[in-house]
């Protein structure tokens, strides 16, 4: 691995780039919600309040950390790092400046499946390790919710792979060309977005972190640095899932390229990618703001009786088209 690859992996378009995107996503989420609700949202820190999430992160990270008496300190110390690692590794598989991703592997869609499950597993472990009543109940809900949305989420991710005949993200992006899979498999895209809301614990599926019921959900007992990183991870997952949606359904960074040498092309691809990414993010923000929270039994019922059959039917259609 040479210096350029290390730079790509850690700085641009790798980890640092995506972490900054995570901050921007949080800002955009707060701003969208505020505008839809007739408020202003963040305005003080930085231009249009853009630096508010960054300020929040550093303020939270500098706070005192309180570890509950019965907490499993080993898991609490090392768990957040692993939890952060899941989306941090995941974003390196997303093609940003062209069709080549940084950590390309021929079967990397399977890695995505693993990372999505791993992220939830770590959340459950962290919740149990912090040994609070609210966290324990929240983890129960998290696991029920996960077992409900996992099947449709994976089915909706397999559908583009079936259409492309390739189980790598890069292959799926390359196979889309001018006809994005959102047009070939709209139901799969819809199912992916709905399942992503559940994965991200956003309304109407913010059941494991329902503030008015179980305080902070599985994050209740976290404070200070740990909480700052857990929150950052959630925002990074936001970007990660939106980027997955862009890659699998919206043709990744592809788009009409009119002119230029390779670096100009890369820049244009990057712009296309960002535009699509924010479009998907905005869609999720809008749904999140416009809905109320459902109960866990209602969510499970919805996923098993409505969304899973839809995703199965879509997969069958995709196989027939293929």
């Amino acid at each position: 691995m040479n210096a350029l690859e290390v730079f790509e992996l850690l700085v641009f378009p790798g980890l640092t780039f995506f972490v900054w995107l995570a901050f921007v996503f949080e800002w955009l989420e707060r701003k969208t919600a505020a505008r839809m609700q007739g408020r202003l949202g963040p305005v003080v820190t930085g231009p249009f309040g853009l630096l508010q999430p960054v300020a929040d992160f550093f303020k939270l990270a500098s706070k005192e950390e309180i570890i509950p008496e019965y907490a499993d300190t080993f898991v609490l110390r090392w768990g957040p790092a692993l939890y952060f690692a899941a989306p941090a590794v995941g974003v390196a598989f997303i093609p940003v400046l062209g069709f080549q991703s940084i950590l390309y592997q021929p079967l990397d869609l399977l890695v995505m499946f693993f990372l999505l499950s791993f992220s939830t597993l770590m959340a459950a472990m962290l919740g149990y390790a912090s040994a609070g009543r609210y966290s324990t109940i929240a983890v129960g809900r998290l696991v029920v919710q996960y077992s409900s949305y996992e099947v449709p989420l994976l089915l909706s991710m397999i559908t583009p792979a079936v259409l492309a005949g390739d189980i790598s993200i890069q292959g799926v992006v390359a196979a889309q060309g001018s006809l994005w899979y959102i047009f070939l498999a709209p139901a799969a895209f819809a199912v992916f977005i709905v399942s992503a809301l559940a994965e991200l614990e956003k309304p109407p599926f913010d059941i494991p972190s329902a503030k008015t019921e179980i305080v902070g959900g599985w994050m209740t007992e976290f404070s200070g640095n740990t909480l700052a990183y857990v929150k950052l991870t959630k925002n990074l997952s936001y970007v990660f899932l939106s980027a997955l949606a862009v890659s699998l359904f919206l043709g990744g960074p592809s788009g009409p390229v009119i002119f230029g040498n390779s670096s100009a092309q890369a820049a244009i691809y990057g712009v296309y990618f960002l535009v699509k990414l924010f479009a998907v993010g905005f869609l999720i923000f809008a749904i999140r703001t416009a809905l109320a929270r459902v109960r866990i039994d209602q969510a499970a019922k919805l996923f098993w009786t409505v969304i899973t059959p839809i995703s199965l039917a879509q997969l069958a259609v995709a196989i027939v088209i293929r």
């Binding site: 919600a33 007739g38 019965y70 324990t136 809905l291 109320a292 459902v294 109960r295």
Partner: protein, 411 residues
């Protein structure tokens, strides 16, 4: 786990956690994001299902009834307003009307109409506040923000009429403290049209929005029989199909001339409470229009003597949350000998805990708040012990003994 299995007798909190029984205890309050006032509910859970709810009240007991005995009658009006940060005017008119009945003051008709208008404005603002909070509790913050933005219009009206948004300091013995402003009628009518339009929209929204209707339909149902047994008041009672309203049954202020159309629903669940309260807001708008049309001219206040003749009186009004009850006793002195207050939340608390049993944990915020609780109003010295299914009120002497015993135990 690296920390090993903690011993059970280490502390009560840890012990409950490590017992592997199907039942677990979860504290809901006194400090909890969905409770805006401190109150403790001990929830016994089996998984997510609630087996038992044990309320423990008294976290915001401020000794207001005792404080009232130290102050003059006039000062008490403003003290009692402070009982509730939402329905302050209901408290002040309940007290003043009780005392007026006791000393047989005649209140001018115009003052009665003004009292009605302000009381109905307060009902609108209280119900809108509750609707917003239901949105918040159901995880629908957008509804919360929208409704509270519209509620500002009502608060502005309240400020235009009385000079204050919440604690109006407006009612006084013998009338109200100042006349309506000259230009208020047009403003009131215009704002009522606005509120009616918005409330009709919200009414449609909460019944048609799927994520909200699955959370409210058939949730927290209370039957008519249970309602008769548990004696809730106000909207909670009317949502079960029992159309009881103090304004209609025992009219005070100008309610005999501007009667309300008593709203009631029959399902007894949160959805019917929502629709009921929206109906009441629309009815309040109608009543304000009628009252402004029929508003008589004349004085808004008659001078009254400072002291109150000996005797006692009980008075009740329909506060936004239900029947509010004041008992005042005078010994002919400048301050009351005793004032007893029974707020609607006190009457509704047991019903709400009954509604919760057997429901999933996720329904706690929305059901508990279906009664529109105002714990700050409620907390006075009365004790409910569901462990022994007993309810009693301390006498002064018992309370003193209990206090001494309690602190002795602490030492």
């Amino acid at each position: 786990m690296s920390s090993g299995k903690p011993s059970e007798e280490k502390s009560e909190a840890g012990a409950g956690l490590m017992q592997y029984s199907p039942e677990s205890m979860m504290p809901f309050g006194p400090v909890h994001p969905s409770l805006k006032e401190p109150e403790y509910f001990r929830l016994v859970l089996e998984g997510e299902k609630i087996k038992e709810v044990i309320p423990r009240i008294g976290y915001v007991h401020r000794g207001i009834e005792r404080a009232a005995q130290e102050r003059t009658w006039v000062k008490d009006i403003y003290l009692f307003e402070r009982i509730c940060g939402i329905c302050s005017f209901a408290h002040s008119i309940c007290f003043t009307q009780g005392v007026e009945a006791l000393s047989k003051f005649e209140v001018p008709r115009r003052a009665k109409y003004i009292r009605l208008v302000v009381a109905e404005l307060e009902r609108i603002h209280s119900h809108l506040l509750w609707l917003g909070l239901v949105g918040h509790w159901a995880g629908f913050d957008t509804l919360f923000m929208w409704v509270w933005k519209d509620r500002e219009h009502v608060l502005d009206l309240s400020e235009a009429i009385t000079g204050n948004r919440i604690h109006k300091s407006y009612a006084t013995f013998g009338g109200v403290r100042k006349d309506l402003p000259d230009d208020i009628k047009d403003k009131l009518l215009a704002e009522m049209s606005f509120i009616e339009k918005r409330v009709k929209y919200y009414d449609e929204l909460v019944s048609s929005e799927r994520t909200l209707s699955v959370r409210t339909k058939g949730v927290g149902t209370i039957t008519q029989d249970a309602a008769r047994r548990l004696c809730p008041v106000g909207p909670l009672l009317r949502s079960t199909g029992i159309a009881r309203d103090v304004r209609a049954e025992d009219p005070y202020a100008a309610y005999d001339e501007v009667p309300p159309e008593v709203q009631f629903r029959t399902d007894g669940d949160i959805a019917s409470l929502l629709s009921l309260r929206m109906g009441e807001v629309l009815d309040s708008c109608r009543m304000i229009r009628v009252a402004m049309e029929k508003l008589p001219s004349g004085p808004f206040r008659t001078p009254v003597p400072r002291s109150v003749p000996a005797g006692d009186s009980a008075f009740h009004v329909e506060a936004p949350r239900g029947e509010l009850f004041y008992y005042s006793k005078s010994e002919g002195l400048s301050s009351p000998a005793r004032v007893k207050i029974r707020t609607p939340t006190m009457a509704n608390l047991l019903t709400a805990t009954e509604m919760l049993k057997g429901r999933p944990l996720a329904d706690v915020p929305i059901v508990l708040t279906g009664m529109d609780p105002c714990f700050g109003c409620m907390d006075r010295v009365s004790v409910i012990d569901l462990d022994k299914s007993k309810q009693w009120a301390f006498t002064g002497e018992q309370l003193r003994e209990y206090g001494i015993e309690y602190y002795r135990r602490l030492l």
